[in-house]
Amino acid sequence: MPEDKWTSDEMMTIAASRLLKDGDICFVGIGLPSAAANLARATHAPDVVLIYESGTIGAKPDVLPLSIGDGELAETADVVVSTPEIFRYWLQGGRVDVGFLGAAQLDRFGNINTTVIGDYHSPKVRLPGAGGAPEIAACAGEVFVILRQSPRTFVDKLAFVTSAGHADGGNWRNDAGLPGKGPTAVITDIGILRPQPESRELVMTDLHPGFSMADAEAATGWPLQRAATCVESPPPNVEELGALRDLIGRTARAHAHG
């Protein structure tokens, strides 16, 4: 078992970081997306441009921010712009290559719920809500989603669609006139899912070392399909694992003082 060498969370973050290309303009959410994007910046993609919705463009934090607007993001940014500007000129204006999001729940077409579990008007669990995600999902060139895979998170039917992925599949995005391609990859602790070219249903295209298709099926609330071309993810290399642990360690030390 690889678990003595790395954790499934580390594998998830490393697999996600690999998808970002050097020079990508990435609108990044707080938490897991921010960890993956900063790992990419620390390894193979030093010139990835990180945009946080607080208006910080080209932020280069040394440690992972706890909030979307930590001081270090502003101090290391190329430029800091207002909230209306970040959403109007930079996101809606089409300047973002990749939107990198987390989610509480996701369905087979990559639609995301971060609003509520249960009925909206008498919720079982009230979640934080939309934030910037609906327009990131609509307007970024493509969208990566990162979240842990379990029957509670990978559900057959969402209680609420906060941010649209591929809606009910097929050419919906194109027909609806959305500028971006929508979710092109969903990275989990088990592997990576990508939409099938025609139906846009998410299928397992990569399995991380130590995980089987049966593991993925057991963690998914819909009948999950395996892509014919499904591959095993390359294990974390020494550089990736070292850089990630350095980043997490620096972050823990910095926030312990905060």
Binding site: S54, S67, P123, A138, G258
Partner: protein
């Protein structure tokens, strides 16, 4: 024209029960001192507008100041839930609270419309999303030139906007820098404005990304050093991440929350006294008393 006055006077004079009040600050420069003063003054039935309700609105909601919340993301950043917000929405405690929910891009645009004197804002948003199904204030509009379907939302025009900034000069002009969020738009959209500041200076040493609000768009400026704590003021102090984490425990249960607010907020007369009270409690806790 800006009066340099006390926060107690500004809140008493400019915020009325039932007003629509926006307190903005995107992680940075959140006007916590002003939020506390609204609670001390016992303001009621407010329609509270804020993109990220955060701890400041968790406190206002739990102390029953808010009748309706207009927002786009209600969490404790980097920590998890806002327990008082959740308790109000899920269990009607301390009272039923109406919510009107949007996205960040929507509210940012709605403030721009308010500041611009327009009745509504337009954006490319919400396609395929459920929020328009539960919020009748989000409507579709057809572009008269291209035929594209876009989202329209009403302008936000607060009765009062409250913000925190780094500096005021002797004449009452205000300067902030770093992450400045929607504060300029929220001020320009409002009928009345209160600004708390870290410091009074003779003249401004203009920083990168500075936003300057001339004194004649502001009604009251109040000197409240540390008034954004536990958020931060760039150039003055850092965000107290540990307080955000500890708020999770303080706010989790109704009784614990109420006791904490009674002791530290209602039991003090100013934000300076509040800060001393919290610091003293932390020292006691640290030595195990």
């Amino acid at each position: 024209m800006a009066d340099i006055t006390t926060l107690e006077e500004a809140v008493a004079d400019l915020i009325q029960d039932g007003d629509t009040v926006a307190m903005e600050g995107f992680t940075h420069l959140i006007p916590h001192a002003a939020g506390h003063q609204v609670i001390r003054a016992g303001k009621k039935n407010l329609t509270a507008v804020r993109m990220t309700p955060d701890l400041i609105y968790d406190q206002l909601i739990g102390m029953n100041c808010v009748k309706k919340l207009i927002f786009s993301w209600g969490g404790n950043p980097g920590v998890g839930s806002l327990h008082r917000f959740r308790d109000a929405v899920q269990n009607d405690w301390p009272a039923p609270m109406e919510i009107q929910e949007h996205s960040h891009a929507d509210i940012a645009n709605a403030y721009v419309a308010g500041a611009s004197g327009l009745p509504f804002a337009v954006l490319r948003g919400y396609v395929g999303c459920d929020l328009p199904k539960v919020n009748p204030m989000i409507k579709a509009i057809t572009c008269p030139f291209t035929g594209e379907q876009l989202a329209a939302v009403p302008a936000i025009r607060p009765d009062v906007t409250v913000i925190h900034a780094q500096q005021v000069d002797r004449r009452g002009n205000v300067m902030m820098w770093g992450i400045t969020g929607v504060q300029k738009e929220a001020v320009m959209a409002a009928k009345r404005t209160i600004v708390t500041v870290e410091e009074i200076v003779d003249s401004f040493d203009i920083k990168a990304n500075s936003v300057i609000l001339p004194r004649w768009v502001i009604d009251a400026v109040c000197l409240e050093p540390g008034g954004a704590y536990p958020s931060y003021a760039l150039g003055y102090y850092d965000r107290d991440n540990s307080f955000y984490k500890s708020w999770d425990g303080i706010s989790r249960e109704r009784d614990g929350f109420t006791a904490w607010m009674n002791r530290h907020v209602l039991g003090t007369a100013s934000f300076a006294e509040y800060s001393e009270s919290v610091a003293a409690a932390q020292v006691k806790e640290a030595v195990g008393a």
